[in-house]
Amino acid sequence: MTETHPAATNERGFLAPTGNGLFGWIFSTDHKRIGLLYMYAILTFFLVGVVLGLLIRLELIAPGETIVSAQTYNALFTLHGVIMIFLFIIPGIPAIFGNIFLPIHIGANDVAFPRLNLLSWWLYISGALLALASLFGGAGFPDTGWTFYVPFSIQTHTNVTLAAFAVFILGFSSILTGINFVTTVHRLRATGVTWGRLPLFVWTLYSTAWVQVLATPILGITLALVLLERVLGAGLFDPAKGGDPILYQHLFWIYSHPAVYIMILPGMGIISEVIPVFARKHIFGYWAMALSGIAIAFAGSLVWAHHMFVSGLSDTAIFVFSLLTFVVAIPSAIKVFNWTATLYKGSIALDPPMLHALTFILLFSVGGLTGLVLGSAATNVPVHDTHFVVGHFHYTMFGGTGFAFFAGLHFWLPKIYGRMYNRKVATAAWAAMLVGFNTLYFSMMVVGLRGMPRRYYDYLPQFTSLNVTATVGSWVLGAGLFVMFANLFWGSLRGAPAGNNPWGGRTLEWTLSSPPPAENFPSPPVVVHGPYIYPEEPTP
């Protein structure tokens, strides 16, 4: 179905030049322009992270020193982690698609604090540049891993000070986005957009924003303490002065475990938008979906110590945190079951966004279930700090959030740029990524179960065949990614006009022209029903 908006006659909408050139972008307070600024920056860092990941895999293709020294390898996986976590996954979906579509989804013309929004982008860029600057000072980039664990992060001569400060700034950027989104959802919903009519993407962004507001300050103070330890030596985490390094781990994970839900929840929101559109059905269990996001955010904030089962916790603490970890599986499973129930008897169209969304469900289920292997105290101990953890983590974060992000790109880029990519190429790239992904990360989990520890540049000869398989998988995955981005890039620049509603979506963004006009809604919209109303007959 196609709807045309009265004001659909704009020439390239918000993308039209404002006459200020670059300044019209980097000082724009338009949420859509800020979203695209984030997209260009975040995708750049994502590609850097991918290259680093491929280098790590190349080093592991054979035992012993292959292409880099041990010290360089340590810096490689730290840089890969810091870039992928703090510069790609955490800001990724909220800062790009949240910024562009949250206001449109609720019928608003912008976020609540447009200038604060611009400031958070500038903070993101500053933090990112500081992180890159830390490559060149001191003894080079940190070799601590992205977790900055004490006491090593206080003793190492590498440039932890600058890198931790960079992450502190990035955290501040994240907090400002969270404050902005919570306020926007509360204050700027258009007439008729009740809580029960919010698109589920908005619900997940709302839950995420609360986690950002409530958890990120803990990361801020924790990293500030690492900085102070390095500069002043107050001894708060130094056993020689009476401090306790385990407390650092608690404080770090009080933020960083909820942070994985900052990463995954918006991805789940995209899946909840994509599946009804391509199944031509109302989402199954709207309120269960909306509230399970809140439940994940809440329960996910209480499970941090399951990262520390071998750090010397009491048996009682391990039991409690293990139990709570299993509790998180319940709302996650509610989401997976509701997506599959939405598909049941739907009129399914396997367009590229849907392929990525279905892949999300598969890979996230694998990632979630292997998470229970890790969350269970007995099985955690033998697989702790092995490649099994790395495989599990990438199934949830890359197979989950990553593929949700790709689903979002294929779903919304035609709306943002008004042009369609080549769908056959997109499908081929998806197939390569699916094969490459599983070859890479499934081999990792198996080699981890057989005992290969993570974060070593060397390994025993019996692990060679699985590592070679994984590395070959990384090439297939990398090739798929390259084709996907090239296709999307080409499509955004030169693709055929996509029309206002290429997929038959029912949320508000599809009622606007493509690209959306600079002022989203010429007159305030009035919404009279929920977002997923489809007629009985499948639409063409």
Binding site: G178, R187, I218, A234, G235, K241, L247
Partner: protein, 200 residues
């Protein structure tokens, strides 16, 4: 390209309260460390706390509470349209902030003069609990002092805004939010003062 000016008083207050939550949690991390280490080293914490200057701490409490009163009065003054009164009250708040920092300077100078500062040779020879106490003391009060400094600057900016008419009786949410920030600084101190100076 500028967004249309829309004024949302409730939205601005909501955003500020969310920000204050994040500040509370930032300090919360330090209070958690305090709780854990107090549990581990109760005796040594008590011994170390004896060395703090209770008089200066109490004076700073009075100063901050007075400042909070002045700022609260400035908000009601701006609501009534008393432009001059608002400015005077805000500058009064600025003076309390500066007095607090001056006091802190005197206090810390004396302690540093006695060789008690993080990683100092004298401090490092003391028992672990005392090292941790003073480590936490300098970090927590330093972070709080930084907030006092930011708050003082905010109050000065608001006084200037009132003078230039940016803040007036129909649009005073900037002033009110700055006031909220100042009360947060006050509130955190209300917990710091007993925990470090009074109880042990």
């Amino acid at each position: 390209m500028s967004a249309p000016e829309h004024r949302d008083y409730t939205g601005a207050k909501l955003g500020m309260w969310l920000f204050l939550f994040t500040e509370l949690i930032l300090f919360g991390g330090l209070f958690i460390l305090y709780a854990v280490y107090l549990h581990r080293y109760p005796g040594e914490f008590a011994a170390a706390a004896q060395e703090l200057n209770l008089g200066l701490g109490a004076a700073n409490t009075v100063i901050l509470l007075t400042g909070s009163l002045l700022v609260a009065l400035s908000v009601s003054a701006v609501r009534r349209g008393g432009r001059r009164a608002t400015q005077l009250l805000l500058w009064g708040g600025v003076v309390t902030g500066l007095l607090f920092l001056l006091n802190k300077y005197i206090e810390w100078s004396a302690e540093i003069g006695h060789g008690i500062y993080p990683d100092s040779p004298i401090l490092n020879q003391k028992p672990p609990g005392e090292i941790i106490f003073f480590g936490l003391y300098y970090v927590t009060l330093g972070l709080h002092g930084l907030h006092v400094l930011i708050g003082t600057v905010l109050l000065a900016v608001m006084a200037l805004y009132t003078a230039t008419g940016v803040v007036h009786r129909d649009d005073f949410v900037k002033l009110e939010n700055s006031g909220l920030y100042w009360h947060l600084v006050d509130l955190v101190w209300i917990f710091i003062f007993p925990l470090y100076y009074l109880l042990l």
